[in-house]
């Protein structure tokens, strides 16, 4: 895991919809506010006392059912929605203290966002849509089209530059959305349920595509989803939201192995543990002979299973440099598989 300086920090952030929200929070100890208090005051607690850190280069997934406040939270992080109270630090800079011009500057050059409903402009071609953020910044035509072409190519839509959005399938439209959000080369990339509007098969394909892109780009990502499997597949770390509050933050492994509440346990129940548990988590020190085959430390147990053929009792675990860290034992792997 990456231990560098957090890219984005969110401290005690609240967003209450309804009139008098600010006074409401000021009048009491925020930590002790309950759902009933909010109902009585006629307020909607879309985001309640959220604390989280997004580290440089990680994929941070926010997972929660519909209406749990994910979209509101991610819009607070980019200040599209003004939080009722709290603090948001981006590269150490307090976003809530930034003025309009500074926010425009930050959004233009350092942030990108992908939307659930794609939000493509119907009157522009694919190329013009992708180049639009640059056009808004006043980048010269030739330069921006050149950049946009590269992005279109990156998301695999070469040849569709001159097509209008409505002639594309949903998956292709979202690829345009992704290319557009990448055109300004943001450091921080928000994706608000980018694949939720797509068919399951296409969704799977887009997730693979996303993983591929991230391996090339290494962005800091805040990814929103309501699909727990998607979260597990993509996340370095997951925050689970319920009724506006974050109930647990941790790696997929942490969450599956030690759900903090019954609510979280509900989600994890049907997840095969082998798909989540990493080789490094159950490896034992190497004793005696060196294992013949090996897997990377971050591979999941289910990825290692195939290597246990008849002759193998153990499989090595190596780090990125190829050093042997430990070994997986057949019994431990079977144990994980049996746990479901």
């Amino acid at each position: 895991m990456n231990d560098s300086q957090p890219k984005l920090v969110c401290r005690n952030v609240w967003k209450l919809f309804g009139s008098g929200a600010r006074d409401f929070l000021r009048a009491r100890e925020p930590a002790s506010v309950t759902g009933d208090d909010l109902v009585k005051a006629g307020l909607v607690g879309a985001v309640r006392n959220v604390n989280l850190e997004v580290r440089d280069g990680e994929i941070f997934v926010i997972m929660g059912l519909s209406g749990s406040g994910k979209s509101t939270l991610v819009r607070c992080l980019s200040r599209l929605v003004e939080p009722t109270s709290g603090e948001i630090l981006f590269n150490g800079e307090n976003l809530l203290a930034a003025d309009e011009a500074r926010m425009i500057e930050i959004r233009r050059h350092q942030m990108g966002m992908v939307f659930q409903q794609f939000a493509l402009l119907p009157h522009l071609t694919v190329l013009a849509n992708v180049a639009f953020p640059l056009e808004v910044q006043g980048v010269k035509r030739q330069k921006r089209e050149q950049l946009a072409r590269r992005m279109v190519e990156l998301v695999g839509l070469s040849g569709k530059e001159g097509v209008f959005p409505r002639e594309l399938s949903g998956g292709q439209q979202q690829r345009v959305g992704i290319a557009r959000s990448l055109a300004v080369e943001p450091e921080l990339w928000f994706l608000d349920e980018p694949f939720s509007a797509l068919d399951p098969l296409i969704r799977r394909e887009m997730q693979d595509e996303f993983i591929r892109l991230q391996s090339v780009l290494n962005k800091t990502i805040v990814f929103i989803t309501h699909d727990f499997d998607e979260a597990i597949r993509l996340a370095d770390r997951i925050a689970i939201m319920k009724d506006g509050a974050v109930v647990q933050i941790g790696t997929p492994e942490d969450i599956v192995l030690a759900p903090a509440t019954d609510y979280v346990a509900e989600f994890t129940r049907n997840v095969p543990k082998a798909k989540v548990i990493k080789a490094q988590s159950i490896m034992k020190p190497v004793q005696g002979a060196q294992p013949k085959t090996s897997v990377p430390a971050r591979a999941t147990v289910s990825e290692a299973v195939a290597l246990f053929d008849g002759s193998n009792e153990c499989v090595g675990v190596i780090d990125e440099a190829g050093n042997m860290l430990g070994q997986l034992l057949r019994t431990d792997v079977v144990d994980v598989l049996m746990r479901g």
Binding site: L80, I104, R107, R108, P122, L124, T125, G162, R166
Partner: protein
Amino acid sequence: MTAPANSSVEAAAGPIGLPRGLIPWIVAAGAFIVLWRFGGAYDWAFEYPSAAIIPAGRWIGDFMKWLVNEAHFGLFSFKDLTRFIAALIDLPYRCALSLLATGFLKGQGSGAVQILPPLSWVAVTATIGLIGFHAGGRRLATLVVLCFGFLAAFGQWQSAMATLASILVAVPIGVIGGLLLGIAAYRWHWFERALTPVLDLMQTIPVFAYLVPILFLFGFGPTAAVVATVIYAMPPMTRIATLALRAVPSDTLDLGRMIGCTRRQMTWRVLVPSAKDSLMVGVNQVIMLSLNMVIIASMIGAGGLGFDVLAALRRLDIGAGLEAGLAIVALAIALDRLSQASAARAGTMTPPAVSTSLPARHPYIVAALVMIVLAGVAGLAMPALQTYPPALQLSTGSFWSNVVGWINVNYFDTLEAAKNAVLLNILVPLKRLLLGLPWAGVTALLAFAGYRLGGLRLAMLTGALAFLIAATGQWEKAMITVYLCGISVVLACLIGVPIGIAAAQRDRLWNWVQVIIDTLQTLPSFVYLMPAVMLFRVGDFTAMIAVVAYAISPAIRYTVHGLRKVDPRLIEAGTAMGCTQWQLLTRIKIKLALPEIMLGLNQTIMFALSMLVITALVGTRDLGQEVYIALTKADTGRGLVAGLAVAFIAIIADRLISAGAARTKARLGLE
């Protein structure tokens, strides 16, 4: 008295078996009848005391005089402002008119020399055809060429081009103005709050009424006519623009902010283009309403086809009037289809071509220019190509006059007898009855209805508006308006609702009916007057026929919509219970469609009122006539007061019916 919102109490039966909700109504009606029959001693309740009349007309007149003569906004006076607006409109109008109709002249009056001829009829028709082809393919091209060919062949070309010139100026101004107002209303809540009542009033106040101040401010002529047209056509564009902008998905707004758009970029680069499809509906509305205004605007100097219709109507030359009227319809059809096709096309744009040569990038523009030049040159050699040869002109004018003559010779007695029977047995007694009612009683009754249907605020509104009508001395004329409007609406509903019921159950029939009422709605309202005048000459009866014909479309449309919206599961349930078709219709469908049908009634009344004002031309004696007289005298105060009275009647009817529909809806659990 029970609280107005308490419907469960009302549904319960009272002591004498009547629904309890009815009792207050009966008491109120009883009190009203007592006042009416036995209140003779209270003169003031019947005739508003003249000493107490509010001289609103004079105040408005004085205000207008002050505005024109004295009002000053620091740097410039009000008069400068109107002159500036006039100049702004006049210049493009002159250009369009020269281009299409008169040619470019040098010098003044009869001594003017033509230095460049106008576009020839061939060039204009071909250009329109090209636009049609571009927007909607061969079929549309054929249609618009036929429409314009009709204008040329029936000798309406010159007038039609004058009309087209004013439309070409009015439409862009109306569209841009409406869009800007719509954007402002979208952006600033306070602006919308201030604008909405103004727009509401604009849609209920008869057009004639604001012709008067415009005439006063801008004088008689095409400029004033364009101003009036713009004012008339702009409100729907404003509304549609606000709604269209509101309908832009929130994700798209977030996108705009996320990529760091400035406010201006947000409006013009994100919002407006995203809302384009809906905005085009507004553009179409502006075009249609501008055409609707053609005849009315000719009363303050528009010229063109409108003037021809009006002049023909005044001298009762049915044939000529009908032809000019049909020419307006042809123009309307062509422009309507063109704008609709362009809107649809805007949705499916083809990507911009990459080739660089001018003809390849803009094939249509180049083709049109080439054609215009060619036609111009050819026109010099062959005058028939420049101006449609009069020898080839067709006219059905005498045909129509003959038809009317023939009908009158053969059926005069029958028609006359029918007319007189209706007049004597229905119209005249009803008119007497309404005129005999005490204004104080009617006002109180309206306030009471407002209270029962919508609470105290509605009661204050209806009561106050009714009182104002009386207090400005308009009561008698208002009652004549109410009588004509009322009888026409009843007739329109008696004919329209059964047609709607029949059509709602038969898809094929509904398709036909839809085509017919759509067409009826494209016709300028004046066109309705002509056949009525042809057959029945002038008078209340004629006015009634025209109003019924105009107002029947909403009655049909809303009935059909209401019936079709009834939840099919309820009908299934009814069938399962063994209802007959008739029971299904009366017990379930009509009951559930009632709120929608009431809204239809509402629209029918609005349509009827707007048409009724126009029938002033055929000699009614109601508020419309008052406005019309004010118009001929350019008496702003008089016109506005009478116009506002019409608007008040419309508002009272609208609010009462809407409140009633809302209550019915709530009672049926449809909300």
